[in-house]
Amino acid sequence: MEEKIRTDLLEVNFGPQHPATHGVFRAVLTLDGEIVVGCKPVLGYLHRGIEKIAERLTYQQFIPYLDRLDYVSGFLNEYPYVRAIEKLMGIEVPIRAQYIRVLMMELNRIAAHLVNVGAQGLDLASMTPMVYCLREREYILELMAEVSGSRMTFNYFRFGGVKFDLPEGYLSKLDRFIHYFKDRLPEYASMLHRNEIFQARTKNIGILKPETALKLSCTGPTLRGCGIARDLRKDEPYEIYPTLDFDVISENTCDSYGRFLVRFKEIEQSVRIIEQTMPNLPEGPVMAKVPKVIKPPAGEIYCRVEAPIGEFGVYVVSDGSPKPYRVKLRSPSFSNLMSFPHIAQNISMPDVVAAFASLAPTMGDSDR
């Protein structure tokens, strides 16, 4: 008589100190053999109390902290906060400053997407694309450092404009980079999504249905990978975006592959935006006249931006004093991560890693 083999469910900790968790994320996975049947995310390992810090600082002093949220896209984190205060105080931003802001935000989007796109390869055990992506990102970081003085923690946007004007000869440098960079994109494609192994590991894996994504308020490439073309740059345009010509990318595949492809194609769109912005950059001041002490009138406002991960929003409550009364940071990683248990259901353990990378969360952003 054949003896029955007894099987048992196994609980495994994925993270927090694991290179594929993009920081310090932990998921308690329940495994049935190789297949994940349960997933319980645990977060908070990178909590620094940034919302509480805001209440103890003046409005200007809080700007540098925003760079440390999603540390790969500092400009995009600074923007909605700065914009919120400008709206509360009724400050008009000079047109040149608006152009510079968009230029920097799109450069930053490319840098952030390069990290995420490269990491997707890395999490599928292919190291080369990551190294290539970081090579080009290094150029961008230097370009951003030349303007702001810092590679990642910029502290560059100010209420009423930006801190410095572009240095001399900056646009020709940027132009040179864009030319060089455009030729690199097919190179990435051949290593990433045109690679058969990559496709086998991402297609039809990590399925997120559009109705689930909407139910969970997912935004950004996570949502656009489900075929819903929602992009705040088009739907609620800010700064000079209405004058720019670019496409909102969406993919109908609803899997890891689709979410990856959205990110990859958005790099091309950001390049398009930069190419349109550079020749039209107007002359003029980069700062509006603003009072020395920032004291917005009592009131509240919500301002949002299309960050590389999704909708990043800042809800500011002012009581008329020089310090914010309450700052709520609506982080896209936090809401997108809620979909992780859905994505990680009934796929194998190594695929969980790849599916997680396709959400591309930043733990600094989700834990705040």
Partner: protein, 143 residues
């Protein structure tokens, strides 16, 4: 296409008023017992995305803030509900609207507001053995 504001008025008798400038969203103040019900009615009126759920200290008590979005008509609505300082509780939105899950846990963690009926009301950002609720105005450092 009629706006969600009109639908909410006609179908449910919910009167949405504009927020004070410069905020362009709509708003409504409701009794805390009716907050969840109002959110769900607004959801049926077309505000189908729960973008933000948070709280703030207000007048020695708390105020819940729900922000709902209608992406088609580009309308946005704030739902405010006041809670007392002592023993603040409110019905949970999570059983009906999954997006509220972690957001309510975060508010519980940061403000100590209890969401009745939440399936898993545990701290999410701070460690389990943490005491106090950091975003309360009377919070003092624990160490």
């Amino acid at each position: 296409m009629s706006t969600s504001k009109d639908i909410a008025k006609q179908k449910f008798g919910i009167d949405l008023s504009p927020m004070p400038a410069p905020e362009t969203a709509l708003m409504i103040n409701v009794d805390s017992a009716k907050a969840v019900e109002t959110c769900l009615k607004l959801r049926e009126s077309g505000f189908s995305i729960l973008t933000m759920l948070t709280a703030k200290c207000k007048d020695n008590g708390f105020e819940m803030v729900y922000m709902l979005d209608n992406w088609e008509t580009r309308e946005r609505v704030f739902v405010f509900a006041s809670l007392p300082a002592q023993d603040p509780k409110i019905k949970s939105l999570t059983p009906d609207w999954e997006a509220a899950d972690w957001l309510e846990r975060e508010v519980y963690d940061m403000f100590g507001i209890v969401f009745e009926g939440h399936p898993n009301l545990q701290r999410i950002i701070t460690p389990e053995n943490f005491t106090g609720h950091p975003l309360r105005k009377d919070f003092t450092d624990t160490d």
